[in-house]
Symmetry: D2
Subunit: 142 residues, 4 copies
Amino acid sequence: MGENVVSAEKLNERLIANPFNNWMGLKILTLDEDSLEIGLKWREEMISNPMARVTHGGILGALIDVAADFMIAAKVGMPVPTVDLRVDYHSAAKPGDLKVVANIVRIGGTNSVAEARVFDSEGKLIASGRGTYFTAAAKKSK
Amino acid sequence: MGENVVSAEKLNERLIANPFNNWMGLKILTLDEDSLEIGLKWREEMISNPMARVTHGGILGALIDVAADFMIAAKVGMPVPTVDLRVDYHSAAKPGDLKVVANIVRIGGTNSVAEARVFDSEGKLIASGRGTYFTAAAKKSK
Amino acid sequence: MGENVVSAEKLNERLIANPFNNWMGLKILTLDEDSLEIGLKWREEMISNPMARVTHGGILGALIDVAADFMIAAKVGMPVPTVDLRVDYHSAAKPGDLKVVANIVRIGGTNSVAEARVFDSEGKLIASGRGTYFTAAAKKSK
Amino acid sequence: MGENVVSAEKLNERLIANPFNNWMGLKILTLDEDSLEIGLKWREEMISNPMARVTHGGILGALIDVAADFMIAAKVGMPVPTVDLRVDYHSAAKPGDLKVVANIVRIGGTNSVAEARVFDSEGKLIASGRGTYFTAAAKKSK
């Protein structure tokens, strides 16, 4: 699938220049040829059901989308538009920081697919999913 | 698919008791037997790409999930866990309030499916999707 | 979303020129600006679990994909490649002919989205779903 | 995620007792704790576009669904109902036998998720996807 063409540092700059990513406290933890790991800093406003105090599914979906997109960005040079996204919810996420790990499924000239898994602070799998990304947009803007 | 068993007022109380929904400025606009309409109050932290100033896909996904879940809640009495979600991104969302309209696809005893479409303030279709919801949870908690 | 640019007759010729569609006994029943209805002729080889004698989920998925693609074909002139597909299974399909109804969600220059619902011979909703289709391919081949 | 509770031989008997699986010429090639590999025997009726002579997307979707379901069956004792399925189409599949490899994403008491990738006879990735399966059904029937 080709080598990474952007460093973790450059990708992280791009990641946090994005206000909503910044609100979620996202930060690239590790990047290698096969996977990208991003951390999320939990905040009270992320809660869904106030009794159960679980993290909102929208936050988990956003994490999967961002991680999959930035794993592709490492290969094509920049984040590209999400065409569509599937998110599977496995367990309720208790309050606490989260980690998401993304991998490439396939890099293509028009569209690419990447997948990601979200873990809670104890390493439990909370959610996972995959998205299609319009990689042709990266070629256009070069 | 059965009649609504909760009023728009009661559903709205439940909607905004949820801190992340509240952060998104969600509010039920209309509810009838066939559809639920929720408004979102745009805020600066919702921006994704800071140059293009488009609304983050994670926000659009959260909106679709919440609207589909609350349309089902109108039929089964309460919001229930999301099993999985698909989101299609159609157009970039410029800064501005959003509206989401949800409909039932099917109410089932174990799982139900609902779909939703997100529109910008000019009525343009921005994103759409559908989710599977674990409606058996509503029976258990009664 | 624009008017249909192909007749039901022309689309049906294209539909049945496809060997697997032909094996499934597909036939366009009705086509108007908003929806496309295709019938499937049930056959014994379509059975999944031999005890329960339900129709294989792969057949239901194929039906949804074909119907969504041909509804888009009515708008863009020809069936185009499926980018991805989501299928929700609602009920077991007993032996018997099926009907699928497709609608446009959005026609776009690069990708389009359509949805479809499969009904059994008694009008019961069996499965539904939506797919993303690469409509740019239709422009290229003109 | 627990050990396999069924042998490849027993699973294969169940696989081919299913008429549509049998029509597709499916056969379990290998099964270990982490993955299941199934082969498909190509046949002329599987063709979609008769000019391009590519394999129908419905066949690829069926393959992904069956492989994901049987990987879960290895863990829970039997194939269980598909709740929903996502399929990503990466490349056109030329005439020729196919292979699908499935892995568990998560085994749960109510629902489980598995993913699968389809390769052509030259080892090229043709399609991939993931599905949600109602594993509670396996407990009920024990």
